[in-house]
């Protein structure tokens, strides 16, 4: 009987000689693990700013909305796509949009993926999302994709704005994945780390932002 | 009674650059030990191993172990040859446990010259002087193979009157690689040219190094393209009172 590719590959690998596994060497813990909350916020900010991210810190949700208003007006934005995650939901952006003469779309406004896709590609001038975590070690946002966090919202528009409650700041990636991947039967379809805008250096090594994804990333830290 | 130290003279030195061997003898005497030379030594086997001729290289390895196996200390003015003995012999002889054991037993007793002077004899100033600027090329096997970098620098900086000039890309390969230089001349030439360009740009009067192979390569390139430019083995620099090879 002909063996399937899978069986043949595994059989060959299993038949190979063995060397034995050595125990792992010692790995000293990262410095971030022993830093204070304020140090972590500072490190997060410094790291993200190095990647041309813009970081604002505001005390509360109202201040976050004020900051959003400021940005929207400065940028002259008229149409944005927002997620429906818990952070964004707590800000009631559709209402804010009405107050500020900005059309606020959410993925749920659309009957199917294609019409949502059209809107987020062609019409949204910015994407606004929350974030599940902020990681200080590299100035990184962590987003879990699900029904309230569509992938394209933070990817297709030229500007991505993320609002992050400060209690979600952690020192290192492990603190995030420990939670996100804790239950094997409850894994998110996609989980993502975002560190700054889209970037490339592929033409003669000249670095620039906004290759395929957003050209700019603005983060509003709340708390 | 002075301690005996066994001289391991690389074939490049034996054949082309015996003055490096002479200088080594002189330095060891200044350092307070008695150099002995086993006449039966031939070659460590590097050319054969590098070309993939392991069976032939084993002949060299076994002969080497026979010649040097009983010495308390073996010293050589070449990092690549020392690497060969210390790190390649045990693997080369892996299938013959008794030879392998003898190779592993010998390995810790084999030293490159600058390593031996500084780490074992604890000597840095050997009485030399030189009025001028010197740059130092960090040969691959000495630096990355043996981890020897501070020792030659200490020895150079202890020479009265020398001015240390940093060399750009000092740790970059000069393009020798034994047979590589002859079989891949286009690449090798590009590499030695870069090394030489960096040296010329440094403004130093003299280029120093610890590896006879690199010396043949860079020296040979100087001779053809930059007559008058000088490259010297550290042993001669330390032994010759700056008078040259």
């Amino acid at each position: 009987m002909e063996q399937s590719a899978r069986d043949e590959i595994l059989r060959k690998l299993k038949a190979a000689p063995k060397k034995g596994i050595r125990s792992r060497p010692v790995l000293p813990p990262l410095r971030e693990l022993s830093q204070t909350k304020e140090e972590l916020i500072e490190k997060f900010t410094k790291n993200l700013v190095e990647e041309t991210g813009v970081v604002h810190r505001v005390p509360d949700n109202q201040a976050a909305l004020d900051k959003l208003t400021e940005i929207i007006q400065a940028e002259g934005l008229k149409k944005v796509m927002v997620s429906t995650d818990d952070v964004v939901a707590s800000l009631d952006l559709p209402a804010w949009g009405k107050r500020n003469n900005v059309q606020v779309m959410t993925p749920k406004d659309f009957p199917d993926r294609n019409s949502f896709r059209d809107a987020v590609f062609n019409e949204a001038e910015a994407g606004i999302t929350g974030a599940d975590f902020a990681v200080a070690e590299s100035g990184t946002l962590a987003l879990i994709h699900n029904k309230d966090q569509a992938r394209l919202v933070s990817l297709a528009p030229i500007l991505h704005m993320a609002i992050v409650p400060l209690e979600r700041m952690v020192p290192v990636y492990e603190r995030v994945t420990e939670k996100v991947f804790a239950k094997k039967d409850q894994l998110p379809s996609q989980f993502i780390f975002i560190t700054g805008p889209s970037m490339t250096g592929d033409i003669q090594g000249a670095l620039f932002k906004g290759m395929h994804g957003p050209r700019r990333l603005i983060v509003i830290l709340v708390g | 009674m002075k301690k005996d130290v066994s001289l391991f003279i690389p074939c490049t030195v034996d054949l082309f650059l015996p003055h490096i061997g002479e200088a080594t003898v002189s330095l060891l005497r200044r350092g307070g030990v008695n150099p002995v030379y086993h006449q039966e030594q031939t070659c460590c086997g590097q050319p054969a191993i590098n070309a993939g001729y392991q069976k032939e290289a084993r002949q060299a390895a076994k002969h080497f172990i026979e010649v040097f196996g009983k010495d308390e200390m073996v010293v050589s003015p070449s990092g690549s040859c020392v690497c060969m003995v210390k790190y390649h012999y045990p693997e080369l002889l892996a299938d013959e446990p008794e030879w392998r054991r003898r190779a592993e037993d010998l390995a810790p007793r084999v030293y490159e010259l600058s390593q031996y002077l500084v780490d074992v004899l604890k000597v840095e100033d050997l009485g030399a002087s030189f009025a001028g600027k010197v740059a130092y090329h960090e040969s691959c096997h000495i630096l990355r193979g043996l981890g020897v970098s501070e020792q030659p620098k200490k020895l150079i900086q202890a020479v009265k009157g020398t001015q240390w000039i940093p060399l750009n890309a000092a740790d970059s390969c000069c393009g020798f690689g034994g047979e590589f230089a002859n079989h891949y001349p286009d690449i090798s030439e590009a590499m030695v040219k870069d090394k030489v360009d960096n040296y010329l740009a440094s403004g130093a009067d003299l280029l120093l190094l610890c590896e006879p192979g690199c010396l043949l390569n860079i020296g040979g390139y100087f001779s053809r393209n930059h007559p008058g430019k000088k490259v010297m083995h550290l042993a001669n620099f330390l032994a010759g009172n700056g008078r040259g090879e």
């Binding site: 399937s4 590719a5 590959i9 060959k12 190979a16 000689p17 792992r24 010692v26 790995l27 000293p28 410095r31 896709r117 590299s138 994709h145 992938r151 394209l152 492990e174 379809s189 996609q190 780390f193 889209s198 592929d202 033409i203 003669q204 090594g205 000249a206 620039f208 906004g210 290759m211 395929h212 994804g213 957003p214 | 015996p18 003055h19 003898v25 006449q39 030594q41 031939t42 086997g45 054969a48 590098n50 070309a51 993939g52 001729y53 032939e56 002949q59 076994k62 002969h63 691959c140 990355r144 001349p185 286009d186 690449i187 590499m191 030695v192 043949l216 040979g220 001779s223 053809r224 393209n225």
Partner: protein, 481 residues
Amino acid sequence: MEIKTEQFTEAVKRELQNARSRAFLKLMPPVLHMKRDISLATFPDIPAAQAYGAAIREEAMERLPELLEEFEKNALANGAKVFWARDAGEANAYITNLAKERGVKYVTKGKSMVTEETGLNEVLSKNGVEAWETDLGEFIAQQLHRPPFHIVGPAINVPVEEVCDLFMKKANMKEPTLDPVKLGYAARLFLRDKFHHVQMGITGINMAVAETGTIINVENEGNIRFTKASPPTQVSVMSLEKVVPTMYDALHLIRLLCRNCTGQKLSAYVSMDSRPKKKDEMDGPEELFIVIVDNGRTKIYQDLKARDVLRCIRCAACLNICPVYGQIGGYAYGWVYSGPMGQVLNPVLLGLDRTQDLYRASTLCGSCKSVCPVGIDHPSLFLYYRAKDVLGDPYFKGKKRPWTEERIFKGWSWAVNRSWRWNLGIRMVRPYINKKATGGVIRKLTRSFDGWFRSRDLPPLAEKTFHERWNEINKGKRANG
């Protein structure tokens, strides 16, 4: 990809004439290497961090079949489909079929070196499915029909004038420009349209986490995210050595990968997929297909020493520090993988006979080994392949050497273990060599040494070798009195 590994010498000659490439190679790799050093300093102990990376990959290779099974089990339980391909033919046929079954007219592709091995794009194209590379460098290389110049920047050596011409012809660019940013923007517009309407996306896989059945992609541009988010069908392809035991392991390797590769702490986007989208999600794949490709790796795996080659995480730190790569660039290596990692991988994938120059064109300087975050000992592998080649070892297709060379080493080995033979040989050969000396140096010998003497002299053999002078030296007499 077409195999041109046997044209190494000609390719090297040609590449060394390319002034633009050489100017780029003088600048870029050293900059990347410097950035690497700066970013590695975030580890409290750099050697420990690199050693830990080596330990992870060593264990992953030792446990390879078990980890692949664990990965597959978890991926299947999550709702992904897993397909195993023995070789290029099986992988290409499977993926092409998926496209045809779904009536897909074109796919967008994230960078996948294993699909360059298998030549997937050509097969798709022959079957009426256009494959658009979307990583900017891969896009340029694809449109110019060039192999990759550097793992990370496949077309980074291509001058802006050429890119401009290309984009005017093939990427709907309206106005000519030599500004890389404007060129990039033109590519963004062109490829954005592809992302917008794509029905099937194909990506590679940087790491497959056995513990959770998760595939991970690391990128800066966002083209992989688009390729995964926009279409209803996602196909992700991995060569089978990409699996790692746990998420913790993956995170440590990602830290090492980003620092060793571009000197970043983390690339702009790291995306981790564990399953197709849930019913209520508005984007992402309805179907997620994971293709595990062998294509010669189970063969490599049988050899305990060559197996270490499979640890490679494609960071390109070895390219950036290699003095040979730094002169000749990526094209000369003749296949998918270049630099030291290509010199250790191509020979065991393609055969030692077709790649004789790849494992010989090295001075064994050890720089590659010194930077590798997963502990691959490239110089030792070069020596291993050379030995296998000399023996004509059939397993990896050793070719054996010209008999003239074999004769020389036989002679050498006959002399090397009896010093009287050795020294007699020297005495016999010396007058013949030294009579070629002019002006105190040798400028030429026989044709087999033309390589050396093209640009270098050699001192004549010493009138008296150290061995011959020992008695004088011992008594403290100098050579010239």
